[in-house]
Amino acid sequence: MASPTGSIALPQATGLRARGQSLWDAWSVPHSAARNFIYSATFWVALTDTMGLVTSTEFVDPDLFGGIPWMEFGRMRSMHVNGVAFLWLSMGYAGAFFYIISKLSGRPLYSERLGNITMLLWNIWGVALILTLGAGLTQGREYAEAIWPLDIMFLVILGLIAFNIFMTLASRVEPRLYVSAWYIIGAMVWFPNVYAIGNVVWNPPYGSLQGINDATWNWFYGHNILGLWFTTGGVAIAYYMIPAITRTPVYSHLLSMVGFWTLGLFYTMVGQHHLLQTPTPGWLKTVATLGSISLFVPVLTFITNIFMTMRGNWQKIYESVPLKFVVTGVIFYLITCIQGPFQATQGFNRLIHFTQWIIGHAHLALLGAFTFILMGACYYIIPVTLGRRIYSIKLAEAQFWLMTLGFLGFFISLQIAGLIQGACWMTTNHSVYWCLTAIRPYLIARSVSGALMVSGGWIQIYNLYKTATAGQYISSVSGPAAADAGGL
């Protein structure tokens, strides 16, 4: 892997713009696009997590924000979900990809300016997305709510990012592609295609099909932004961060290879496991269930590879906050993917489909696994590229524990709630309302622990801002300093 080079020593890398520097110049600074993406993502996670918190309170006191159109549950929920998925995770991924790709190629990003312009476009897109969803402009398909003009704009943005990444890779000095690069290439090939197909972009303004096949397409898409984008990208980041911080080469090339190709093969098959009980074709459900169980292959190869790399390095999680975040994320990923195949079997799905269990699983994946991995990446990339230390390790630790404990409370209460709901529907004649009163205490617990996580997001804004403007400079740029910057 390329060693940490040049960029750290650059004097103008203050993080925000240097005094007297024009924006145009600031946007050509190495790694500035990666950083700006991460700053934006950090802003969005705090904002859209807060929206999640608001949404969750509406289960407990539905009249709290009653009568305000954009705060109504259905609208706030779509703002939250689209926000965390496309503004926090996806923008953060783009930033991390830029950094990782330039490191792995041993070259600066093909065009920092283009990267920064894309960042600006993406933020504009994000504001438009949140505003349109708040105003009730939607295509009414989960994860594909964005209206047609925004779909097109998003595809252009993704195209620009893919272009930048591929051009950087084409100019690389390192002949061998590291495993993270495969995953990033995979993600950048897959995601725009999945997005275009899943959103049926050739059929404006609906962006959907007629009849029940639309559900199949919706969930092909809904699942593959998870499998071929969030998972692929998160795995790429984990494969980079863990070896980089622990300074240990990845355990097995073969395992990485098996993991990569089976991920592409099996994830694509499983969309229908979201529709196991709908009147859609049975063979699609069979394919999905088999694919879901086969997903143990890419998951276990990845987990084995990571844990074997961690062998002898476990004590380092006490020294490095980013490592702690990433490793915790990987463990949550393992739990997600143990849950997943069970959920994809007909019998268990009958119990938990429609319940809060699924919400727990969704957060385990996107919050527990990939938000943690990405937060680790943020706390690594910002300090390392600026040559500054994290402003306050204590705050970063506090954020870690708020997130972890908050998440566990959130997750466990939703799993219990889901089982109660499932059992209530299956075994009693009660209406949905009656079963809701039974899970109310768990929904309150969810909001309370959700509040802990939200505060974690706001801490990250403060801490990264202070790191960029007031973090201590690292004097030496050699070897371990890079890992140091992320850690001590």
Binding site: E72, G74, L177, A181, W190, L209, P279, V287, T437
Partner: protein, 390 residues
């Protein structure tokens, strides 16, 4: 294998596109379900209502497909447990099947409630169901200068859409709601029956029972329920439990005083029942214990009174019935109540005894304009005749 930029990108595309061919292209190539027996195209208003449903994210909480185990979802009993079929969605652009059930499934919701229930419910769901967690959609109303509210076309179209859920079956249930409502309108509003007006909450109680329309109202409750005797003795426990259930389920419409003037009152037609008239609670037509029991168990079709049979046990319902007889004497408003001293023993009035000797007719002769809905294929096996189900 050598992983280069080219081989990785092309390989990744080949793998994923081959699977995409199977799971995405194949379904649209080979699976074209025909419209099912209940599917029908939308009217313009319903179509717009469907968009309002989408805009407000209703599908994040309400699914639209019935599974075999979903026999307790609204309307499913009426359709004899019909399970969703692929052809049900034939006319839908964007299938909003829904992945979450924070509210009931709505695929058979059409005609389960009358329009006035929906008006109250959309304005604020707590008005008709204090336990509901559904958001209020009061922003789909415009407020007039005098403080009253008028529903927007968005809302009316939304209701048109909701009343069509279940396709032709929904239409059928909805037609039945309308005809039952007509029956009540005739029975209550046609002179000379101010007393019935009073019973149904028209605020100025007047003189005499009008008898043809009485029969119509009696016909709503089957005789076997009507003269059912209360198996749960009225005692302190029963009254207190009954009050708890009343307060957590009924006050949205029947009001905190039990006078039928809950917050939903402004939307309802006919009004919610008034329980505060001592004479009526002691000798009234609709206040025999069996009649009250039936209304709570099955609801009253054509009115906003919804069935509570799913959520309340037999004993719960009798407890509420017992409790209702204390309301005229302050059982509800008195914080220390209800007490046995407040309890009224029901017995039919002399006129009522007379009236009951007349064989029941349904619907009443005074309501000839009422169209009785024809028996549908789905209800033919239903042992209880439609009019009687109430």
């Amino acid at each position: 294998m050598r992983m280069t930029l080219g081989s990785t990108a092309v390989g990744a595309a080949i793998v994923v596109f081959s699977v995409i061919f199977v799971v995405v292209a194949m379904p649209v190539l080979v699976f074209h379900p025909r419209p099912s027996d209940i599917a029908e195209p939308y009217t313009a208003a319903q179509l717009h209502g469907r968009y309002v449903y989408m805009q407000n994210g209703c599908f994040y909480c309400h699914s639209q497909f019935i599974r075999p185990q979903d026999w307790n979802q609204p309307g499913v009993e009426d359709s004899n447990g019909r399970v969703a079929q692929a052809g049900d969605y034939a006319y839908q652009q964007t299938a909003m099947l829904g992945q979450h059930r924070n509210g009931p499934d709505l695929s058979e919701e059409g005609g389960v409630h009358p329009d006035d229930w929906h008006l109250a419910h959309f304005y604020n769901p707590r008005f008709v169901n204090p336990k509901s967690i559904m958001p209020e959609f009061s922003y789909l109303w415009t407020t007039n200068s005098d403080g009253s509210v008028t529903p927007t076309t968005d809302l009316l179209d939304l209701i048109a859409y909701v009343q069509n859920l279940g396709g032709k079956l929904g239409d059928e249930r909805y037609a039945e709601q309308l005809s039952q409502k007509q029956l009540f309108a005739n029975a209550i509003l046609a002179p000379p029956n101010p007393q019935i007006q009073a019973l149904y909450g028209v605020k100025d109680p007047g003189a005499q029972l009008g008898d043809t329309n009485q029969k119509a109202l009696i016909s709503v409750v089957p005789q076997k329920f009507w003269d059912l005797l209360d198996p749960v003795p009225a005692d302190d426990r029963s009254l207190i439990d009954g009050k708890t259930i009343f307060v957590t389920n009924c006050i949205g419409c029947h009001g905190v005083k039990g006078n039928g003037q809950g917050p939903a009152d402004q939307f309802l037609n006919p009004y919610a029942y008034n329980f505060t008239d001592a004479n009526n609670m002691a000798h009234g037509l609709s206040t025999s214990p069996g009649s009250l029991y039936e209304h709570i168990l099955y609801g009253i079709k054509g009115t906003a009174m919804q069935p509570f049979g799913q959520d309340l046990t037999v004993q719960n319902i009798w407890d509420v019935v017992n409790f209702l007889y204390t309301i005229p004497n302050g059982g509800l408003t008195d914080p220390s109540g209800p007490h046995m001293t407040q309890y009224i023993q029901w017995s039919p009035s002399a006129e009522l005894e007379d009236l009951l000797k007349v064989p029941q007719v349904s619907p009443a002769s005074g309501t000839t304009s009422v169209a009785t809905p024809g028996p549908s294929a789905y209800r033919e096996n239903n042992p209880i005749p439609i009019v009687v189900r109430g």
